[in-house]
Symmetry: C2
């Protein structure tokens, strides 16, 4: 167990915006919520998965909806307490700790805010090791964990509890209600015991985010290498492209931020062209017509000077970005994992080939 | 208390199809469900509101969705048990009886099927005295009763419990889930105690349906008057028009059956023209440009020979119908009632004027 205060939240938010792979929403908003809650209630206890008893009830907390809506509309403040009470009553059991469901963006921060406000510890674990746009896309689905009972509440005070026959049906029904509630809601789902969390969760992911954030902040402090080298080393990222944004095509269909960004090469990539497509998160990077990386690996864009990750909603004409690929959590590379998050599910017409094989012969 | 068997169901279904005012779905399908349940489980106990203890828990049962979808898709069979168990568990109380929410169409029949299958009595009361397309449109909303907790289940086994800040929000969220579930689901809502049911419910409505059905069946057995006179007398209906359907314009937008029907006058109405608009239920009858009746009064169309009511989905070119207007339940005519179901809410651009005033000077 260790304590997460304001400083740790800064680093976690920065690292989480990289693991968001462009999605999960602007971490700034989530950071403010986490910091506000810590200022009011004190630091949050971050516990290692191994510290959690096998029979303890773990309550994941997340926001559901289009990130752009989510950052505009905000929350009411009472949602965590409401969700906690709904779940405790429904289960007839005491909740032991909260947990993030995804490591990227706003959803890396909200569980910290919830933990602070509820006075519960947060487990250093998530169900993605990144961000994904649909709620069945978690390692716990691979482990056969039901997404339901799922609790949902909006900032106005409307709430629902779902029980569905599959996790894909949870996504269907909860998405419909999310849209009716204005496009973003607070949810808890994949309620599980400690043993299940330990078997299928992506462990120590909060700590990884924190280290990533700290590394990004200090890329210029390494005299023996360039900041870019320092960034690639710390992130274990594969360099896929460097370019200036020459076009951004986007569509918010109410549920997702969809689109693609076109890049004109700069520096050693001058004269070349790349395209990155996204559905909340970045889906694939294509350089001169060749696919260089796809989901479930993380396709990330970062500022070429500061190495601060650029989320899909912050993409704009003229911005210079480095495109990097990060290996996804190994469970996503299994048959069961790819059934949930293979490129074709997202409309990217290719088999999944691990990023390290795609870039073989390329420059790391 | 009296028992409702196969014969009573026949009459109730026929009367309910008149009270459905064109909506509520083809009663034939609901009738089959009620009869099937009675054949398997025996007759249903129909209890008068006055027989219900003030603190008894009453569980209304209904289907939600577009009637056309509802009659195509059907039910799985386990929904009543599922809803009953969800509600009992959620409330932590024993359910005393089921109750219909609307008097018209399929929803007049499903509570009979539910009562038979659950072995519970059914209360002779509803919340409309007719059918309406949206779930906040019940007398209980006037009485300040919350629609939630609302339980919903589909035939596949997906379910949800809602708690909302207003009954209009219940409609919003449950409608979204209903559409995601394929367009029709089984629900329970407006859970209330016996005292509330007695204060705001439309009492003895099942018995009224049964009497109406019996009267329609026997319109030709009155030597002293024409069948039409017998029908108008028994239904207390105002004759608005008689015509042949010359056009039907319809649209199922997923949630509702919308449209209008154009009639060319026959008999004493020859040379005149009428139009009836509908949203699941008939909304307004306009004769030669003059509004002759609107919601919340019941605008009904019946076959000119058999006087069997014609539901909106059965409207077709060439059919000859008598258009009649029936007074709605008095509570709908109050300010609070009209706030929920005034003509303008349904897009009919007129103030509400009671049917008996509209037809003053016309022929009853």
């Amino acid at each position: 167990m260790r304590r997460i205060g304001i400083k740790e939240v800064e680093d976690i938010a920065l690292g989480a915006s990289l693991l968001g792979a462009g999605g999960g929403g602007d971490p700034y908003y989530g950071k403010l919520m986490a910091m506000g809650a810590i200022k009011e209630n004190g630091p949050v206890e971050l516990i290692s998965p191994d510290e959690v008893p096998d029979d303890a009830v773990i309550m994941p907390i997340a926001m559901m909806g289009a990130p752009t809506v989510l950052c505009e509309k905000g929350t009411g403040g009472n949602e965590y307490r409401e969700i906690y009470e709904m779940m405790s009553k429904y289960l007839g059991k005491k909740v032991y700790a909260v947990m993030p469901m995804e490591a990227g963006g706003v959803n890396s921060m909200l569980p910290i805010a919830a933990a602070a406000r509820l006075g519960l510890p947060m487990v250093d674990c998530d169900g993605m090791g990144r961000a994904f746009p649909e709620l069945q896309m978690v390692t716990f689905t691979i482990g056969g964990v039901s997404a339901t009972p799922m609790a949902l509440t909006d900032e106005k005070g409307n709430s629902a509890i779902f029980n569905t026959i599959t996790n894909k049906w949870t996504e269907e029904l909860a998405r419909a209600v999310t849209m009716s509630c204005g496009g973003s809601v607070t949810v808890s789902l994949y309620i599980m015991d400690g043993a299940t969390m330990k078997a299928y969760g992506v462990k120590d992911i909060v700590t990884r985010s924190e280290k990533l954030g700290r590394a990004i902040r200090s890329v210029k402090e390494h005299p023996e290498m360039t900041p870019e080298e320092a960034f690639l080393l710390a992130s274990e990222g594969y360099r896929l492209f460097k370019g200036k944004i020459s076009d951004v095509l986007r569509e918010t269909n109410g549920a997702f931020n969809l689109g693609r960004v076109v890049l004109d090469g700069i520096g050693e990539y001058k004269g070349r062209r790349a395209e990155v497509s996204f559905q909340n998160e970045n889906l694939a990077a294509v350089v001169d017509g060749e696919i260089m990386g796809t989901v479930p690996d993380l396709i990330c864009m970062v500022d070429t000077e500061t190495f601060v990750p650029v989320t899909t909603e912050a993409l704009k004409y003229g911005k210079r970005v480095l495109v990097v690929g990060l290996k996804c959590y190994e469970m996503w590379r299994t048959e069961a994992g790819l059934e949930l998050v293979c490129p074709r599910y997202f409309g990217v017409d290719t088999d999944y080939i691990p990023i390290e094989e795609r870039v073989k012969g390329g420059d790391r």
